[in-house]
C-alpha cells in the first residue's frame, strides 16, 4: 500500500483570492503536485467545519482552506470568521487524534500564484511524511 499510495489533498479555496492565485499559478506555468484537488467556494467564511470533517472521513489525507489575507476579504470579514472556526476545529481534531498538520489554513491573495504553488508543494510533502489518513475506511 505504502508504495502505491498517493496523497489525496483537498483545497477549499475562496473565489476572490486563493482560487485566483491557483489560476495565476497556472497562467504563469508554476507547477504544483497533481494530488491537489481544488474546490471553489465564495469565501473562506463559507467553509463550515462540517466540510472539513466530511472531506477527512471520505478519504482526504489533507485539507487546506485558502482565504484572502486579513483585511482583504471581499465580504469584509469572512476570513476572520474562517480563522475563528478553524482555531476551534483544529484543536477539536487534535483531541480526536488527527495530526494537526493534516488540516491547514492559509492566506493566499490573487496575486500570489507563486505562493500558491509553493504552499501546495510544501503541504503535499507534509502529507506524504504523515502517510495515509487514519480515518480511511
Amino acid at each position: 500500500m505504502s508504495e502505491e499510495w498517493e496523497p489525496n489533498i483537498i483545497v477549499i479555496a475562496c473565489n476572490w483570492c486563493t482560487y485566483q492565485a491557483a489560476d495565476l499559478a497556472g497562467s504563469l506555468r508554476y507547477s504544483y503536485p497533481p494530488t491537489v484537488k481544488v474546490v471553489r467556494v465564495p469565501c473562506s467564511g463559507r467553509v463550515e467545519p462540517e466540510f472539513v470533517l466530511e472531506a477527512l472521513i471520505n478519504g482526504a489525507d489533507g485539507v487546506l482552506i485558502g482565504g484572502c489575507h486579513p483585511g482583504d476579504c471581499h465580504y469584509k470579514e469572512g476570513n476572520y470568521k474562517a480563522l475563528r472556526r478553524f482555531k476551534l476545529l483544529h484543536k477539536l481534531l487534535t483531541e480526536l487524534g488527527i495530526e494537526p498538520e493534516r488540516v491547514r489554513l492559509e492566506w493566499i491573495s490573487g496575486s500570489e500564484g507563486l505562493k500558491f504553488a509553493e504552499v501546495m508543494k510544501e503541504f503535499d510533502a507534509t502529507i506524504r511524511k504523515l502517510g495515509p489518513n487514519p480515518l480511511k475506511r
Binding site: P49, E50, L53, L56, L83, R84, K87, L88, L92, E95
Partner: protein
C-alpha cells in the same frame, strides 16, 4: 385493542424512564391504551427469555433508552427490533450516544485501568479485572457481557424508526409522543420526533424574541464563574450555550434556570455534525480573542461540543 408496549434500558441511567413516569396522571390515562409486555430491567419482572419467546412483530412499539456499550445490550436491542413493529431511540443516549458516549475519547483498556485500579476509592489488591467467564467451585460457570471498545447509538446497531432527544426528554414532549403513539399520528419513519424549533426559538432570554440584536461576545465564562443575570441571553453574557443548534422540545428548560444549553435535545434538522455546527455558530458570535480564551478555559473541546453526541459525530472516537 391496547397497544403492546416495551421499554428497555441499555447503557443509560433510567432518567428517560423517569421522564415517562413523570407524566403522572396522564400516563395513567394512557396506560388504558397500552399493554406493557416488557419493561426491563427497571419496572416489570419479565425475563429476557420471555422476550425472546414472543412472536416476531408482536410488540406494537418499543422504546429504548441508553446507548449500546455491552454485548448484552446489543443482543437485546436486536431481539427487540425483531419483535417490535416500531422501535424508538428514546432520549439522548439511544439517539446520539449521550453522556456514556464520551467514553469514546478513551480506549477500553484506559477505562478499565481507571475504574479497577486508579480511582481513589478503588480497593483491588489482587488486581481483579472483570472476565466474561468465570467458574466457581469448579462447576458453576458465571458469565458477564462483553464490554465493547466503543459506545454506539441505537441506530448504529439496528434500524430505528424514530428518534427522541433530551436528557431526559421533557415530560411535556413525552406527553406529545405518547399521544402520537396512542393515536397513531406519527411522522415518516427515520425522523426525529420534534417541533423542529431551536432552544433559542423558545427561550425567553433570546434577544431576537425581545426585538434586540445580538452583540459580539467579548468574554467567555465557565458556569462556575459568577452568577448569570436571570434575564439576559446566556451567550451574550459569555456563558457558552448551544441553544442555537439544539432542538428546543425541552422549552428551553435549562436556560430558564440559569444553566446554558449543552445540546441534549439533539441537532436541529439539517445539522449533520452537532459539534461542528456548534463551532460554526460560536465562531460567528465570539470575537478573535474570545476564541483564544475559550480554548484556554476549556480543557477538552471534544467533550464540550460533543457532550451528548460523540458516537454519532463524523469522527466518532479518538483515533
Amino acid at each position: 385493542m391496547a397497544l403492546k408496549f416495551a421499554f428497555y434500558l441499555a447503557a443509560g441511567c433510567a432518567g428517560c424512564e423517569m421522564a415517562l413516569v413523570d407524566l403522572a396522571d396522564r400516563l395513567v390515562d394512557a396506560l388504558g391504551e397500552l399493554e406493557v409486555v416488557f419493561w426491563a430491567p427497571t419496572v416489570a419482572d419479565i425475563k429476557y427469555k420471555d422476550l425472546e419467546a414472543m412472536p416476531d412483530k408482536s410488540i406494537d412499539i418499543a422504546l429504548v433508552d441508553g446507548a449500546i456499550r455491552l454485548s448484552e445490550q446489543e443482543h437485546i436491542v436486536k431481539v427487540l427490533r425483531q419483535k417490535a413493529k416500531i422501535l424508538v431511540a428514546f432520549g439522548a443516549c439511544a439517539a446520539m450516544g449521550g453522556i456514556p458516549g464520551l467514553a469514546n475519547m478513551h480506549t477500553k483498556d484506559e477505562i478499565f485501568e481507571t475504574v479497577y485500579f486508579k480511582t481513589y476509592s478503588t480497593d483491588n489488591p489482587d488486581g481483579v479485572v472483570p472476565q466474561t467467564k468465570c467458574v466457581v467451585d469448579g462447576k458453576y460457570e458465571l458469565t458477564l457481557p462483553e464490554f465493547w471498545n466503543e459506545v454506539k447509538a441505537l441506530h448504529q446497531v439496528v434500524d430505528v424508526d424514530y428518534f427522541v432527544g433530551g436528557c431526559p426528554p421533557h415530560h411535556e414532549h413525552v406527553a406529545k409522543i405518547v399521544e402520537a403513539i396512542v393515536s397513531g399520528n406519527l411522522p415518516p419513519k427515520g425522523s426525529w420526533i420534534t417541533d423542529g424549533k431551536s432552544v433559542c426559538d423558545v427561550c425567553p432570554r433570546n434577544p431576537a424574541n425581545k426585538g434586540k440584536t445580538r452583540e459580539i461576545v467579548k468574554e467567555v465564562k465557565r458556569t462556575i464563574e459568577g452568577i448569570p443575570d436571570e434575564e439576559k441571553c446566556l451567550l451574550q453574557q459569555g456563558y457558552l450555550c448551544f441553544g442555537p443548534v439544539t432542538q428546543g422540545d425541552c422549552g428551553a428548560s435549562c436556560p430558564k434556570v440559569n444553566i446554558p444549553c449543552r445540546g441534549c435535545g439533539g441537532p436541529l434538522p439539517g445539522v449533520k455534525d452537532f459539534g461542528a455546527r456548534a463551532i460554526a455558530s460560536l465562531a460567528s458570535i465570539l470575537d478573535d480573542s474570545t476564541v483564544d480564551q475559550l480554548m484556554e478555559k476549556y480543557p477538552s473541546l471534544a467533550k464540550l461540543f460533543y457532550r451528548y453526541s460523540l458516537p454519532v459525530a463524523t469522527i466518532n472516537k479518538r483515533r
